[in-house]
């Protein structure tokens, strides 16, 4: 494979790759175009006319702001919970041996392997049994179940790559537990936590199934969008929201990409 470097791929392969990428990304452009259409009841192609009025309409609709802020808050808190629990759990599983270690590792990963609808039903019946009213916090709990998994998976892989004697070396040189975590453990897993955290945030932000089972009257952004698609009024508002979300999330994703890329180069150099 190495020897192929620098050589050009056959034209047919290039064309196939281009088609694949277009197939993935053209629908996104379509969403953007419909954000400017003058037709508000249905999506017709080509758009009968172009307008920017939907931006102003969207800006002035309080339900959009409510849904957006709820989603951001839920995703932020679920991610924070996942970062703490996922890191602790991965440290325990990869650093120590104890009875039931393999079982715990499997149980942590289970929520992402199970269909969301099962997690959702299970949580809903559990909440009802325990007489917990559906609220902001039940949504957060539901999201945290699968957010923990992504952080855990990222952190466990990183822990496996870092030498265990590094922690002992730090203790040996006079650092107590907290100093060792602050100066040795955290810098070594930081990029893994960043990547896991971003993924957790994204998963939570567009979650629909578990949310429908664990939410009360609240609408997160994806649920708001689903409801909006059924209504025949001001349809392009959904598209404006979608477009803004895509653009706003693209920046941190690009930032994370560049940050983790540099981090891996440092960690991997000399190997």
């Amino acid at each position: 494979m190495r020897s192929d470097r620098g050589q050009s791929a056959p034209r047919s392969l290039k064309a196939a790759a281009a088609c694949g990428l277009l197939f993935l990304h053209l629908p996104l452009l379509l969403i953007f175009v419909y954000a400017f259409t003058t037709e508000e009841k249905s999506f017709v192609w080509p758009p009968p006319g172009l307008t920017t009025q939907w931006f102003a309409v969207t800006w002035n609709r309080p339900d959009v702001w409510q849904a957006l802020s709820l989603s951001v808050r839920v995703a932020a808190i679920s991610t924070a919970i996942a970062l703490i629990l996922g890191t602790l759990c991965s440290a325990a599983v990869s650093r120590t041996r104890f009875f039931g270690r393999e079982t715990i590792s499997l149980l942590v990963i289970l929520p992402i392997a199970l269909p969301g609808i099962i997690t959702g039903i299970a949580l809903r019946s559990a909440f009802s049994l325990a007489d917990i009213p559906f609220s902001f916090w039940t949504i957060v709990l539901g999201h945290a179940t699968f957010c923990v998994v992504v952080v855990y998976n990222n952190a466990v892989a990183r822990f496996r790559r870092t030498s265990g004697s590094m922690i002992e070396a730090s203790m040996d040189l006079g650092a107590d537990g907290f100093q060792t975590f602050r100066h040795v453990v955290l810098p070594n897993i930081a990029t893994a936590l960043l990547a896991g955290g971003m993924l957790a945030f994204a998963l939570s932000f567009d979650e629909v199934i578990v949310t429908t089972f664990t939410a009360g009257q609240q609408q997160t952004l994806p649920i708001w969008m689903l409801e909006e698609l059924i209504r025949p009024r001001q349809r392009p508002v959904t598209n404006v929201v979608a477009m803004v979300v895509v653009l706003v999330t693209l920046l941190p994703i690009l930032a994370a990409y560049y940050l983790t890329r540099d981090g891996d180069q440092i960690a991997g150099s000399g190997k």
């Binding site: 002992e168 070396a169 203790m171 040996d172 040189l173 006079g174 650092a175 100093q179 440092i266 000399g270």
Partner: protein, 332 residues
């Protein structure tokens, strides 16, 4: 005088495994002490007990007169050079070396100056800005050494520090470690499974087997006067002679040890000495090692290169000076 490290009846059990079993040990301040033994003999666990990574199941440990049980590694004035060096990949070489001073709250200019000095000590001046990943194995080892020495430990522990280096580099490092220890006057405790390394570097050697110390003594003691069959065999692959054989030559019914280099190999059958047959020869450069069969007893002899050698299968006569036959304490 208080010992640098003192073990009293120290045991460390892992479940039913007695990794360290009732070990008594006194390490003299300023000495170069080697713990020698095969893997799983308990030597590394002893080192970890001194460092504080393990706590004894029973017995007591003191370091310069202070009780060490229950004292965490970060409160012991002892530093370790790890087998895999355990350098911090996210820090520069200078920050690695300065780490111990940093966590103790020493100011930046001061600790960087001390780290530079430690790097000069291990002959790596000017390498501070690099990352550990950019260094060779030998250089990483020196950084690990500097990182431990910068804290001015009372005892420096070295866990098979030369194991990962190639032969030439290892020989250089052996000399360098030895002269560094002389210059600094710090007590070095060195774990190795390489008997040559232990004999050439240490002031005293403790030979470990099955969690127990078989013998403690100067390299000469251990090599010339092994007390048990295990020590005779493990240190320098001496010929272990059964009581029957020893009785014929010394009159005493005890296990004996005879160094391979003490055996002279004469050609031809008959004559004074032990009749044997040459099984195989192994060319080692400066010497040649001969495997011999003396009526079922397998013996090894080492002869200088250039000696006229018998051919394999040929009958030979083995002779040795009686005083080279060492009688061991181990009961028959």
């Amino acid at each position: 005088m208080t010992s640098a490290v003192s073990f009293q009846k120290v045991s460390r059990h892992f479940g039913s495994v007695r990794a360290v079993d009732a070990v008594d040990l006194d390490i003299v301040p300023g000495e170069f002490f080697a713990m020698l033994g095969p893997s799983g003999s308990g030597k590394t666990t002893c080192l970890r007990l001194i460092a504080g990574f393990e706590q004894p199941t029973s017995g007591s440990i003191s370091i310069f007169g202070e009780r060490a049980e229950g004292v965490p590694p970060y409160r012991r004035n002892v530093n370790t050079v790890f087998q895999d060096y355990a350098l911090f990949p996210h820090l520069s070489v200078l920050d690695n070396v300065a780490y111990g001073l940093m966590v103790k709250g020493v100011g930046k200019p001061e600790r960087q100056k001390a780290a530079e000095e430690a790097l000069s000590l291990v002959r790596l001046p000017g390498y501070g800005a690099r990352r550990p990943g950019q260094l060779s194995g030998g250089q990483r080892q020196r950084v690990a050494l500097a990182r431990a020495l910068v804290n001015q430990p009372k005892v420096l522990l070295l866990d098979e520090p030369l194991g990962a280096l190639d032969l030439k580099l290892r020989e250089n490092m052996q000399e360098e470690l030895k002269s560094l220890q002389k210059a600094l006057g710090i007590t070095f405790v060195f774990v190795t499974h390489d008997q040559g390394e232990a004999l050439s570097m240490a002031d005293r050697v403790a030979v470990f087997n099955d969690g127990k110390i078989m013998q403690i003594g100067t390299p000469e003691d251990i090599y010339q006067r092994p007390r048990t069959r295990f020590v005779a065999d493990f240190v320098g692959s001496s010929n272990v002679l059964p009581p029957d054989f020893v009785e014929r030559y010394s009159g005493q019914r005890r296990w004996g040890s005879l160094r391979p280099e003490s055996i002279r190999v004469g050609r031809g059958a008959g004559g004074e000495g032990v009749a044997a047959r040459l099984v195989s020869t192994n060319y080692l450069g400066a010497t040649t090692k001969l495997a011999l069969d003396a009526d079922g007893l397998r013996l090894h002899a080492i002869v200088p290169a250039g000696t006229a050698l018998p051919v394999e299968g040929e009958a030979v006569v083995l002779t040795f000076n009686r005083e080279h036959l060492h009688l061991m304490d181990e009961p028959a």
